[in-house]
Each structure stands twice: as C-alpha cells, then as structure tokens.
Symmetry: C2
C-alpha cells in the first residue's frame, strides 16, 4: 500500500479538525483508496503547550515549519496558519521543495494566489483549497469539475457566517448591530477585532477565489468592491421586511458582455430567494450557468470539522493523484492559463440597481425637498419615501428613500453632496435592492 | 495530445444534450485537460431519421449498439437509452470488452447495479453515473468524494420533478391532481404513462442509488418503501398550509443504530425547511453528516442540458483517469466492497411518525367515534380532528385526523380495518408529518 506523508503547519481549530478526521478515518481511507495517509509532522508556534493524545506519537512536533518543509519524506504540506506573509513564505518554500499544497487560507490566495499558482505549475505540484471558501460546502470542486462545460453566468453568495449571524439575530432579537456583535464575540462567532468580517473583507477574499475559477481569469482582492454591514440598523431590517425582503451581505459575481462584476455589499433580497432563508452562521452559494441553469449549495461555512472535512478531502484527492496518476488531472483553477491577466472588472459606478437610502436628518421643514432635489439633479427618481414620527429621537429622524434603477455613480455623487448638508447628521446608508 | 473515443447509445433528449455540449466545448476541454474527446459513434434504433448537422460527420451511425461495442477503438460507452433489459445487456457486453461506462440510467442501477458494479471491478473498468440522480446537481460526487470522511446520518430529497411540479401547481392553481397532471403531460413535464413518476418509483430508484453510496452498503429498489402522490387532493394541500406546512414527495434515507431507513412518500414538512421552498420541476437534496453537518444541494433534476452536463463531467473524469492514472482513483460507489451484502433495512412498520389521515366518509352520526375507537384500539391518539361543513358533496365528506407519534404498523393495521367500514367511501390517504 502506498503511503503519503503529510505535514501540517498550524494546529488551531481547523488543524485540530484535520488531525481528528485523519485519526478516526485512517482505516476507512486505507480500505477505500489503498493509500495510507501518514501524519508525520506538525509545526505550530505554540506546539509545546498543544501536545495532546491525538498527536503525541507524531514524529515531528516543532515550532519551526522549515523543519517540515526540509524533510524529504513529506509529500504534502497542509498550511493552516492563515494570514499572509508567513503563510506565503511557507507555501512558496514548500512548492520549491516539490511539496504539494493544501491550504484553507483565503486571504493569501485572494492576494497572492496567482503567484503561488504559477509557482506550483512551474514546480509541477498540486494545490487544493476547498477549505478556503464556504468551509463544508464543496463549491470549489463543483465549479472546477462538475460545471466544467458550463459558462458561469452569475454567483450570489453568503460567504461570511459572522455577518449572517449578526443580521439574523438583529432581526430575531429586534436588536441593534452593536449589541448583537458583542453577543457574537462572546459566543465565539466573531473575532475580538471583527473588522475583517463585518466590513466584508473576508467575503471579498472568498469571492475573488471563486470568481477566478468561475470566469477563467484571475480576480484579486483589490478588484472586488466591498461594503460591510456595520452601518445597518434594526430599522433597516424592519423596512426590508415591509418590502417583503431580507438584508443579507451578498458576494456577487457576474459575467457581463465585456467585463466581470465582483462586489460585496449589504443587499435587500426578496424573501422568496433561497438566500433569504439562510440563517445564522450558515453559508450558501447560488450559481446560474449556461447549461445546468440554477443550482444552490448550502452548508456550514466555517468550523474545525466542516472546514477540516474539506481539507481532508483535498489531501485525499492529491494523495490519489500523486499515487496513481502520472499527470495533473485537473488544473489548479480548473483551466489552464498563465495567471497573468488582470480581469476586466466592471466599475461599480456603472452598475445599475435600485437603491435603498437611509438619511439621518434634523426634523425640520424642506429636508425632503432638498434631498430629493439633489437626487433629481443626478437623474435619480424615487419609488417611495418612508418617514415615521415614532422614529424621532432628540430632534433627529431617519428618512428612507427607495429609488428607481440608476447607475451607482449617480447615487455615490448625490449622497456625497447630501452628506455635506447641514441638516444631515450621519453618513447615509446605501443598500442595493434585488428584485 | 491523448485522444479518447466515445460511443453514445441512445440519441434522445440527454443524448442530444451530450453531443451539443461535446461539440461546443471541444476546444475548451482540449485546452484544460490535454485530452481530445472524440465522438466516434452513435447507436440509436431510429438513427436514420435523427441525423442532424451535429452528428452527420460522426464515423459510426448505426441502429445496432453492438457495432459500437465491438469497435476496438471505443474507450467509453455512454448508455442513454434508459430502461432495464436492453441497457443491461449493452453495459454488460461493453464492460466485457473492457469499455468504461457512463450512464444516466437510474432504474437499471437501482435494480441490477450491484451486478454491473461487480462486473466492472472484475474487468477493471470505470463507471460514472452522476446523471442518474438529480440531473444537474452533482450529488454523487459530493457523497463519494467530498464527504468521504463523514458518516452520512440522513438524506431528505426531492428527486422527481414531475411530482414536485404537480404538487406546486395544485397549490398555486388551487387545482386537483388530475387536472394538473393533464397539464403537465401537455407541457412535457409528465409522461403519457405517468405511473413511474407519480407513484414514486422514479424517486425510489434514485434513492436506492444515493443510499448505496451514502451508507457503504448496497440498497436495491426492492428494499425501498414507496408511496406516490396520486391520492393527494387540493384539500390536503390547504390543510397542510393551515399546519404551516407543504406537501412534498420526499425520498428519505437514514442510518439508524442497527439498520437503514429508505422510503419515498408524500410528507407534510414545515415551511421553514428549505425543501418546502423547492418549486416546480426543481430537485433538492438535504444531507446531514457527522462532520460537515447540514448541507443542501439544489438544481434542475432533469433535462437534456443539466443531465447532459453531468454526463459530460463523468466522461471527462473517466477520460482523465484512463489517460493519466494507472490505478482507479475512486471506487465506483466511493468505497471498496464486494457488493454482495443486502442491506439491513428498517421495516416501515417500525418507523415512528406523526400521521395525517384523511378519511372519506358518509355524513352520518357516530362516524368519528367509530374511527377514533379503532385508532384507540391500536394505541393511536389524536392531536386534532378537522371536518368542515363546506366539504360535503353528495352526502360524502372528508374527515382529517392528525395523530400523535406512533409506529407505522398501528396506522396500517387500523386504516385497513377502517377502510372496510360501510360508511367509508374511498381509500384513506395516509401521509407522514415532519416537524
């Protein structure tokens, strides 16, 4: 029986999940693949206080990943430390030593992916990263292999469990963003520094990776337009409900005639959409393709075992390829290219949508006429205006306008002007409305 | 560049889809896999009147599949004729000639799958059948590969588009089964002989296949308990609505402590379930596993292009395996076994559920007491009874009872007795209620 040696860098939540899964499924894996997956080393900067029964017999337990990388017996390096610089160094060095790579590191792949993919091709090593996007939902393989004869037309996805949990709980508890965030931090669903999640950056990383696969062209994090959910208030969720909708942080990728749209922003979607029913920390990816048409893929987007399960599936797939195949079966992104092209991305200013605008204004005469006057100068017409006496607090009141379809630039330009008016008391919340 | 020769048997809806996809993606496939997929023959009993521009240059166009099977240059036989006996003969003969197999034939695999899988292993050929279950939803590969280190705990699925279309339209149009069926036949969503779909047999075939993969043990169609939807009336859909539920034809597979449940029956499910929102001809598969927990996979379950896309993904996967690999990467069902064991299946009589019972009775005194008396003798207690004056037609009126949880045998035995009572005018509708 063939033995494949793996070294894990990073023994945190996902690392524990992977070790646990490999330990408990060792016999099953042998029986079904005729391969012995041998965990021969773990590197972690705090390995000394993390040694437990699961790993105490592992040959190499080290604080130095280079020790694993330099070990000629290691076939696959599993990078699970996250972050960019150190992880990039570890993966690059591993590739140069001919090691195959499995990683769950979305920020690294969304930032420097194309360099690493190119390096991997140069050294003829394989890379798996199913765990980097949507944890336990096997979306990478679906896009790379199952949809291989489809043009992907559009992807609408909920890719960040923290944001989805906060929005769900704001609705259920009729509570404000800050309170739910605090609670999410206490429950371990949000980091102590939550900016990465709540400002949409994590979703944008994941979107860059799936868009790169879906559209056969590299999309990097810099090209993704990002807005987070920190300005959303409970009143917005209530009003979305009145519009028969829900607010979700959507990651959207579309192929247009001449370019690609990649954007992450809070969006009001109709309740009849499946995505509207995705609650709490769950993720979901809706895909529309040329041949298979619509599909939806739903599950847990994070956690040691869901993400660990994706990582182990990648390890096994690579182990089979290197044991039984003499050529790469599937290109790293599902298609052969030089990873050089920067994609042609649609300017967010050009994207036409219906908008929900919540202004925070002094309760005084002619506010509505001044605001709608400016909107009118930018060719924006209004479908409905909502203001209610009970919203008044200390002389300040929200004013909500829903627009007809208009280009993003009209909204950005007019809101910039409106936010400078003396009676406007806070930055205006801008959300797109899907119908 | 490696060339792989394929022969297609059956040039119907899916056959056309496959040919169309191969023609349009030939260059893309070459570029991304370094393989040329060469369509070298098509067999169809009516080939002479089906020759079109897409196939007129194909080398072998024949009415006799044996001509393709005997051609030593053919690497993969793609069986798309459906049905059992002829297809079985074609696949067996192909395997014996060392051809690899791609098929979308669920009835064959659910009936004789284990013999064909065993034969394929004996001749060391590969078999792909992603198109056999849920068309464009890549559920076979998810279960075989992505969930490889998971115990599958339960599967709830909508696997038949015809039934789901009929139930959806009965609700939307407030119409009766017979009318919607006729309309579905006219729209091409139902066969002229619809029994196979509406009696649940098609769903049961598909369930047998996915249960065989999910539970690492062969499940054949004979072992699946089946009830169809032909007795469901609009009144049932209305009452399900009042219970905040929807009626769906569910295919359910569960792993219990000592056995497996595999059953297809109309079921009232809560509206909050994703499956409740699956409309018209769409399919969906909900899976709960030990590690990844819940996932849902949704899409088109049939049609030339969705199913064709799954068939082409299988063709490509096998083409890569035989071009680049010297050993089978993944066992036919995802696990190695001898395909001999018949699974230990839970008796439907033992399965505990809440039941919805609709009796059709004469409008006369003491009917309720006699029926509930018999139910009581079988230890069935009632949660609610519903009867409305406006339901009365020609002296006959429906009576609906919802039970507490009870074993199936209690329901079957008591309903058998009740259906013999002189005031009972039609067979009683029995549906399970999920909570």
């Amino acid at each position: 029986m063939k033995s494949i040696n793996i070294g894990i860098v990073g023994y945190g939540t996902v690392g524990h999940g992977v070790v646990n899964l490999l330990r408990n499924n060792n016999e099953l894996i042998k029986q079904n693949s005729n391969i012995n997956i041998n965990l021969c080393g773990i590197a972690d900067r705090n390995i000394n206080r993390k040694i437990d029964d699961n790993i105490k017999n592992v040959d190499i337990l080290t604080i130095d990943p280079i020790e694993l990388i330099n070990d000629p017996s290691v076939d696959i390096i599993v990078e699970l430390i996250g972050g960019i610089n150190e992880a990039r160094y570890i993966i690059s060095e591993s590739i140069k030593k001919g090691k195959h790579i499995v990683t769950a590191n979305k920020s690294l792949l969304a930032t420097h992916g194309y360099k690493l993919f190119k390096l991997a091709d140069e050294y003829n090593v394989l890379m798996g990263f199913e765990g980097a996007v949507a944890g336990g939902i096997p979306i990478i393989r679906v896009l790379k292999e199952d949809m291989c004869v489809n043009d992907i037309r559009e992807i609408y996805a909920i890719l960040n469990g923290t944001c989805n949990y906060i929005l769900t709980q704001m609705e259920l508890q009729k509570s404000e963003f800050e309170n739910v965030l605090l609670e999410a931090q206490q429950a371990g669903y949000a980091e102590s520094d939550p900016a990465f999640d709540i400002e949409g950056i994590d979703s944008a990383h994941k979107l860059a990776i799936i868009a790169s696969i879906a559209f056969n062209t590299m999309v990097s994090i810099k090209q993704v337009y990002v807005e987070g959910i920190s300005k959303v208030k409970h009143i917005d969720i209530e009003l979305a409900e009145e519009l028969n909708g829900k607010i979700k942080l959507l990651a959207i990728a579309k192929r247009n005639q001449n370019n690609i749209e990649v954007r992450v922003h809070p969006t009001i979607i109709p309740k009849r959409y499946f995505l509207a029913d995705v609650m709490d920390v769950y993720n979901a990816v809706y895909i529309r393709t040329s041949k298979v048409d619509r599909t939806m893929h739903y599950g847990r987007g994070a956690g040691g075992l869901p993400t660990g399960s994706a990582v182990v599936a990648d390890i096994l797939s690579i182990a089979k390829d290197i044991s039984f195949c003499d050529k790469k079966r599937v290109p790293i992104l599902g298609y052969n290219n030089s990873y050089n092209e920067e994609s042609n991305i649609c300017d967010i200013n050009d994207i036409v949508s219906t908008f929900y605008l919540r202004f925070t204004v002094d309760d005084q005469p002619s506010v509505l006429s001044k605001i709608t006057g400016i909107l009118g100068e930018h060719n924006i017409s209004i479908v409905s205006a909502i203001q209610r006496g009970e919203w008044l607090r200390n002389g300040i009141i929200p004013l909500v306008l829903i627009t007809h379809e208009t280009e993003g630039r009209n909204i950005f330009n007019s809101v910039e002007r409106i936010d400078k008016l003396p009676f406007v008391r806070d930055k205006t919340l801008v959300m797109r409305v899907e119908r």
